[in-house]
Subunit: 246 residues, 2 copies
Amino acid sequence: MNRPLALDRIRIVLSRTSHPGNIGAAARAMKTMGLRDLWLVAPERFPDEVATARASGAIDVLESARVVGSLQEALADTVFSAALTARRRELSLPRMHAREAACELVARVSDGIVALVFGNETSGMTNEEVGLCSVPVTIPTDAEFSSLNLGAAVQVLSYELRMAALGETASAPLDARAEPATHADFEGFMAHLERVVTASGFHDPANPKRLLPRMRRLFNRVRLEKEEVAILRGMLTTFETPKRRG
Amino acid sequence: MNRPLALDRIRIVLSRTSHPGNIGAAARAMKTMGLRDLWLVAPERFPDEVATARASGAIDVLESARVVGSLQEALADTVFSAALTARRRELSLPRMHAREAACELVARVSDGIVALVFGNETSGMTNEEVGLCSVPVTIPTDAEFSSLNLGAAVQVLSYELRMAALGETASAPLDARAEPATHADFEGFMAHLERVVTASGFHDPANPKRLLPRMRRLFNRVRLEKEEVAILRGMLTTFETPKRRG
């Protein structure tokens, strides 16, 4: 699965981050999802060896990170921006959920660079910072315990951005479905099964009970593949006549 | 936003975790998304103060965690299980993406307890462990950098489970279906099938090919009922020793 181009136009902005470890964790989270453009607004400590250690294989993201003095600078060339906020903020702006915001950000890249902004670990985004962004975003955490740390929040949103960028391809099955069994294949298998269970004495045609309807119901549910029917029938054949090995 | 009831029936299983910090991070990630049921299979160090520190406000999840010796024990009473695996595993099983797996897990809670299993930090899930689960799952990370750490993986999947659970309108009635087969029922059936197809000569243990994984995949798809397993095993018994009729 290649890196969708939309991700190149999505900027992650960390504002006033206190702990350099979180900057490293964010870089790693971003890179796992194909995001590379990291901007840091007035970080308390950066560069820092703790950030480098936590970034693990994503040191390139840290090294190319832009450090600026204000959120305005980080957003200057963007066409749309979303601000992660805590759940219960008093704001007149309608909030978006993470998934919805990710779709919106990805949709807006056709206009230019878009940004997703994360505030300070303890204090979050200030009202002024949120006001600079186009829309506030929340992750729908549990009401009783909403303490996502910064790295985890960046991970969840980077994942949602990737899923949105992959779009329809992401929900498609990874493995193309094998050739399905036809009705005739299915009936052939049922007849074979009936013959074998009758021969083994499990099924008594004089007193059939509900065995065969139940087996039909079971194997109908499974959407058998052609090849599976062949295997099942091969199996039944050896129950009729055990196979000898050389 | 209240905690959806489906989440109470979803078990997170961490198998052979090396670093206690990751157990703590997983507990925290779970709790932010409303998940509480944590099982640990043979953790290297647990309980441990590093786990407690990383759990932050989720110490209750750690304290109620069940520690067991094998994955079989952790899955024994489950009706469906998904195993997180790396992207490029050679398996005939169809893989599910994280989102799809989350929807499937939430859908299956109407049958009983479901589980999501995470392997060791370095080695991941063994093939044997994956084989015990109903379906392998991957997080669609960037092909060039797929190194999600354990805490991040638990965070992403817990988030997807929460989103899936919130998406379920009214949870399906539990009584509509017959009693589902448990993991132990399923494994008993698989072992019985293996014995019978070996005796019949269809399966050659010296040259197993892909027969047994394919049968697992087939019967996993079907959501077997307890009574169906009993019928199938009754059938297998007569293939081993044909029944005489008076």
